[in-house]
């Protein structure tokens, strides 16, 4: 098919590069430089979609971010699918494959359209809330049907092949929008040497200068644009970001700019190293908002029929893309700008049927020019209804009186295929409002302008200034001031000369009255994407939805992908009229990011897949991998969970590992434990304040277990701390708690007890920790150490320094398994050497690597808790039966002490740590099983506790568990029950939580 609407010359398209694309399965051609929308219009494609609710045919209305109708599904392959592309902002590329998002079987003939037509009157706002209620049980079925109609485009079903990234940028001046205002501001600021970023959402910078009739320096305005861009490009500190949308402006001038880097080239990045898009996180000292203004359409009956467009869009398509989107045009306007579309149309050699101007006696230069061209001008009038269904066939025109909201005078029907409307301009204030500032209404420009935001200046059309000479002057000043505010002096910018245009004042008109009352007239669309009509807004206000926020939520006004860029101000004005309020009294709804939608992928950046969250490894990780370890996620760490041999199941592996430790010797990589080096003369005092137990007497080279509480008395961490010197301690923390505990110590030191002389330094990563545990641990270690390991020289809970495998080491004799244990600590760079040296004796001693699961079984047999598993933030040291670890008479009221004497923490029936022994020895209780005393009671049952840890012990030969049980310490020997999901009830006996070697003989050998 040929490009029937393409002009023979003009526009900023590259006619040497013909691009082929498909829309709804049909093949078309366009040119490099086209948007998908301009290419469709060039090819005479009128209907591009069906509307969401009523399935009415819809065409392209706008040429930019405000387009509500031309929403497309893009992508030739499944993985490259992108829903809801705005055709007006999508550059055309070869092979582009687009589909309408609605319409079945197709957009030309949509079966749903019939339902829309018939059901339309019932489907106003509030429709869902008023029906589908009976019978209650049917709602889920109704909902299934409602959901069938939901959504615009569709999500891909495959993973995204593209990559995305982020840049963090800092600048003195961020300029948003590269129209005349933005370009001038950037130039002024750039010349000062300040760091400037200039971004614009469009393919080319220049804004309205790319389609304006105004000349600069007596020449086509685009020439000036090229000059300015060329100069900016030479400035090393200026970053030009075309195809980049400022989507959010957050607190303290933090902006997110989304740069599309390959979306204009192909479905997926042409080169695998390219990123599809890049989010710039910009912290700007000053922001200049130069985002222009969106034209407002007029609201009249059937204003959604394809062929109804914005005046400015008509001009843009003609001047920028050399596309005339119709044959015979009627313009309906409230201002001089509407005339430009008619002039452009006429110059393109097509017929202008009439300009219908709502003003009684317009007198601007444009008006005169139109008159001179012999274009018919109908004043004091407006189009109040469009005719046609799949394409405009005519415009019904009448005199209007905006003040009384009535039609006046005679009516006329004009035959045409395009109606372009302009109801004035709405400054693009969005970004100025993202941090909560409300825009301000200005009667003189009939629009909202940005309110005051610290560090932000608005210039150009966004500031309600439309005359080009003033825009340029304001912008130069704003650029200069922003640079100055950032400490840079500006040499000055010479402004191009502009031929002054005399403009006559616009008139305020939003909805055009109809012969019939709004509720009875043909639909007058306010929000095209969501099918919100003037009647819908009237119904909402009638039903008591008087706040504009209620109107929005009841009607869905502005809820769509265009976020009401086209319709919101009209909607507010209509609501204001109905409520007998002024527009500022009615106010706007809240502007929120995003300005236009951005893909999740772009927002996520590189932080996905294996980079979603850091994986932390110990120095021995490579060995574990080689040995076939299965890993467990503990915080960010990957810890060996167990080391299966051959086809072993986890159970088998763990049983084997447990036996190895109890019978021979096992080794655990415990490097992930948090380690904090504490030095200073008050180190001991400090430790005494943050731990529950006593530290005053701990001698050098002695270790002690400590328990840490929050000041609410609840256990938060535990670990062994060693006194390395009178002023020197090494504290260990749980793996998950390491960072938090270091911060906790600093918090107390820096805020409460700065007078204590103590310093904390994290050495978690510095020391690798290898836990050698089992009856043969001494024999094995003695093979490779010079430390005297004899029982009486190096006692339990002591620390020694010496060589292990030729590496200087600290060895701690502590035990989490209940066996004879040496924790070997070496500087992490030497860990692999030591580990391998130990494994050189693997077969001689039966050395077995074990993982966290085995560690859990072994420690549970000993009744040792895991904070976070056997505690949950509601457990005190006393609940754990750890009174032995509480220094009740320490001189300083340690953290958590006071809270233990509150009424609730003193209760006798608190949940306390106990052991459970299943009556059936083969049974392993479920971790998380709830405990009851009477299994026969009916639901809801009285629950008295739950199982926190549960394993099968090869050493004990039966299952066993730890549990928190109400009043548990007084229930020894009682039977308790666990009613399970499968209906079985498991019986267990309450026993001491220490199942093995209660006297601690094994670890003391």
């Amino acid at each position: 098919m040929s490009q029937v609407n393409r002009l023979g010359s003009g526009g900023y398209i590259d006619r040497t590069q013909t691009l082929t694309f498909t829309f709804n399965g049909n093949q078309y051609t366009g040119y490099k430089g086209d948007t998908l929308a301009s290419a469709l219009l060039a090819n005479g494609v009128g209907i591009v979609n069906r509307s969401f609710k009523y399935s009415r045919p819809r065409g392209i209305v706008a040429a930019g971010a405000e387009e509500p109708n031309a929403i497309m599904q893009l992508g030739a392959t499944e993985a490259a699918q992108v829903p809801n592309i705005r055709a007006t902002q999508q550059a055309l590329y070869s092979g582009l494959t687009a589909r309408s998002t609605n319409g079945w079987p197709n957009v030309e003939n949509d079966a749903m359209g019939l339902i829309g037509k018939l059901g339309g009157p019932m489907m106003g706002p509030g429709f869902y809330y008023k029906t589908f209620m009976a019978p209650a049980s049917m709602w889920m079925t109704y909902e299934k049907f409602i959901r069938k109609a939901a959504g615009l485009g569709r999500s891909p079903k495959e993973k995204d092949p593209d990559q995305y990234d982020h840049y963090h940028r800092h600048c003195d001046v961020l300029v948003i929008g590269a129209g005349p205002a933005g370009l001038t501001a950037a130039l002024a600021a750039g010349r000062s040497g300040a760091r400037v970023i200039l971004c614009d959402e469009q393919e080319q910078m220049g804004g309205h200068l790319l389609d304006t009739r105004d000349q600069l320096n007596g020449k086509d305005a685009s020439l000036w644009v090229s000059q300015v861009l060329a100069e900016l490009a030479t400035m090393p500190e200026v970053l030009l970001l075309p195809r980049t949308t400022a989507n959010g402006l957050h607190d303290h001038n933090f902006a997110t700019l989304h740069e599309r880097r390959t979306e204009h080239l192909a479905d997926t990045a042409p080169d695998a190293n390219q990123v599809r898009s890049r989010m710039h996180h910009v912290r700007a000292h000053q922001v200049i908002l130069a985002s222009g203004a969106h034209e407002r359409p007029l609201v009249y009956a059937n204003n959604d029929v394809p062929g109804n467009m914005l005046c400015g869009a008509v001009s843009t398509y003609i001047r920028r893309y050399a596309v005339v989107p119709g044959q015979r045009l009627v313009v309906t306007t409230t201002n001089d700008d509407g005339y430009r579309a008619a002039l452009d149309w006429a110059e393109a050699g097509r017929e202008v049927v009439a300009i219908v101007d709502a003003r009684p006696s317009p007198e601007g230069d444009c008006v005169k020019e139109a008159r001179k061209k012999g274009i018919r001008i109908i004043t004091g009038s407006a189009v109040f209804e469009a005719k046609g269904s799949k394409r405009v066939t005519g415009a019904r025109v009448s005199g209007v009186d905006p003040a009384t909201f009535t039609l006046t005078g005679v009516k006329d029907d004009l035959a045409c295929d395009t109606i372009a409307s302009s109801g004035g301009f709405s400054p693009v204030v969005h970004l100025s409002a993202h941090t909560g500032t409300r825009p301000i209404w200005r009667d003189d420009i009939i629009g909202f302008v940005p309110g005051k935001v610290k560090g932000l200046t608005s210039v150009g059309a966004v500031n309600g200034v439309y005359a080009l000479d003033r825009i340029l002057a304001d912008a130069a000043e704003a650029g200069t001031n922003a640079a100055l505010a950032s400490g840079f002096n500006v040499a000055g910018v010479e402004l191009p000369s502009v031929t002054k245009q005399l403009e006559s004042k616009p008139i305020a008109l939003f909805q055009v009255p109809h012969e019939k009352p709004t509720m009875r007239a043909p639909k007058q669309f306010v929000d095209l994407q969501n099918d919100v009509t003037a009647a819908g807004i009237e119904l909402a206000t009638r039903e008591g939805f008087e706040s504009i926020e209620h109107v929005k939520r009841y009607t869905a006004l502005g809820f769509g992908t265009d976020q009401g860029k086209l319709g919101n101000i009209n909607g507010m004005a209509i609501a204001a009229r109905l409520l007998n309020q002024t527009i500022p009294e009615t106010g706007t709804t809240v502007f929120r990011p995003n300005y236009t939608g951005i893909t999740f992928g772009a927002i996520a950046g590189r932080h996905c897949r294996d980079l979603f969250d850091p994986e932390r490894y110990t120095a021995l990780h490579a060995w574990h991998l080689q040995r076939g370890a299965k890993f467990e996620d503990v915080g960010q760490w990957k810890r060996p969970w167990y080391f299966p041999v051959g086809n072993e199941t986890m159970h088998d592996a763990v049983q084997r590992e447990c036996r190895a430790v109890r019978e021979k010797v096992g080794i655990l990589d415990a490097s992930t434990l948090g380690k904090i080096d504490i030095q200073g003369k008050d180190a001991r005092e400090f430790i005494g304040r943050v731990y529950t137990n006593k530290w005053a007497q701990l001698g050098v080279d002695k270790c002690r277990y400590g328990l840490m509480c929050k000041d609410d008395g609840m256990v938060m961490d535990d670990g062994v701390t060693t006194c390395l010197g009178d002023n020197h301690f090494l504290m260990t923390t749980t793996t998950g708690g390491a960072a938090a505990i270091l911060e906790w110590l600093e918090l107390w030191h820096q805020t409460e007890w700065p007078e204590l002389e103590v310093y904390f330094t994290s050495v978690t990563d510095h020391w690798a920790t290898m836990t050698l545990s089992g009856p043969k641990a001494r024999d094995l270690l003695s093979e490779i150490t010079d430390i005297d390991l004899s029982k009486d020289t190096f006692k339990f809970m002591e620390c020694r320094q010496g060589q292990v495998a030729g590496v200087p080491a600290r060895v701690y004799r502590i035990s989490f398994t209940g066996e004879l244990t040496y924790e070997i600590n070496v500087q992490a760079n030497y860990a692999m050497h030591v580990w391998k040296a130990l494994f050189a004796h693997e077969h001689k001693y039966g050395l077995t690597p074990y993982g966290t699961e085995t560690m859990h079984v072994l420690r549970a047999e000993k009744g040792f808790i895991i904070v976070g598993q056997d505690t949950d933030g509601s457990v005190t040291p006393e609940d754990l039966g750890m009174q032995w670890c509480v220094g009740y008479d320490k001189p300083f009221s340690w953290i958590g002490q006071r809270a233990l004497s509150r009424p609730d923490t003193r209760r006798e029936d608190r949940k306390q740590l106990v052991g459970l022994k299943p009556v059936d020895p083969k049974v392993v209780l479920q971790e998380g099983a709830q405990i009851v005393l009477d299994p026969k009671q009916s639901i809801p049952m009285k629950m008295v506790g739950h199982v926190t840890s549960s394993y099968f012990s090869p050493t004990l030969g039966h299952g066993f568990a730890l549990a928190l049980l109400m009043g548990g310490s007084k229930r020894m020997g009682e039977k308790v029950y666990m009613p399970m999901a499968d209906g079985t009830v498991i019986e267990a006996e309450v026993v001491s939580p220490i199942f093995l070697d209660p006297k601690g003989v094994r670890q003391n050998v």
């Binding site: 809801n84 008023k130 709602w139 569709r154 999500s155 607190d251 979603f612 629950m943």
Partner: protein, 416 residues
Amino acid sequence: MQRYSGFGLAKHALTHNENWQRLWRNPTPKKKYDVIIVGAGGHGLATAYYLAKEHGITNVAVIEKGWLGGGNTARNTTIVRSNYLWDEAAALYEHAMKLWEGLSQDLNYNVMFSQRGVLNLGHTLQDMRDIQRRVNANRLNGIDGEVLDTQQVQEICPILNCSADARFPVLGASWQPRAGVARHDAVAWGFARGADALGVDLIQQTEVIGMRIEDGQIVGVETNRGFIGAETVGCVAAGNSSVLAKMAGIKLPLESHPLQALVSEPIKPILDTVVMSNHVHGYASQSDKGDLVIGAGIDGYNGYGQRGSYPTIEHTLQAIVEMFPVFSRVRMNRQWGGIVDTCPDACPILSATPVKGLFFNCGWGTGGFKATPGSGNVFAWTLAKGYAHPLAAPFSIDRFVSGKLIDEHGAAGVAH
């Protein structure tokens, strides 16, 4: 009150929808009421509704500084579930769940309560222990739920990334089939319409700026439109509760934080259940309009700005892409924030105060939408009788003194 029905819709269509009545009046405040509710969020409106309906107290005003339902009720991600861990909380939320199940019919307003089920994913062994514990407790409390393994999760939600090479593989989930979502605005409007019909005055655009207390007894509230009297005042002001408390000389154990949420552009239905993950920190459902409704964690600082920081949104979407890689090319449409009144134990406060006649219903924080009918119901009872409803009693403010906290952090790890 005009009854709503499908038949009525057709009838009104014939008269061009010109005969619909207001859902609520716009009354001038009276000088004195029996009860004043401060805050016309879902909870305040539900309180008024049940006061009138179940206790016959109709001389009631609900005073709202903005538009009704415009606080957190307007901004939440609408997840409704009752699978809480501790008995006290579970009982309260399950009470609400039962009311949800008949709410559309009771209010004659379709709140679109959709019981499409909620998955709470587990990614670590400890997650799975916690899930087992909670589901077991739910079952013995008579609340539906089961523990699913990875395979079963994948069957319920085929687009979820359940592969073993995910950064945090899905090990399983808890599944509450009766849980789901509801249309949040409709909940506020339905309760408002119901309360109004029973005679309650809904007074919008009126801010309470002071409390008048005489001899330790509340006698009314000062507003920007003058004094309004009542000897029973219930404050249901969510994020602004501390501000109201200060007017009465009371401190609450609350911090108001920004909590953000976002929606994608509408896409064809692809996610038919609610998926939440505390561990990777994000959750999502898909509304009947087609947008993905996605929630985040709270921002750490206090904030009354109804907006939070961008990194929170960024992190949430990273989590969503991690869970649903197919959504990488779906676009985020809009983000916003609410002011959540977080309590140290992640449980609400339903309580009398040292001031006679003054009660607070607050502290619902990140998760009170699901409780709306239940909260209103027990709070109305409390206001009517002057002492706590049995389900409300454990949530007295005294618990912070005695230490009897009900720590639901596990259940509220991410906001919902």
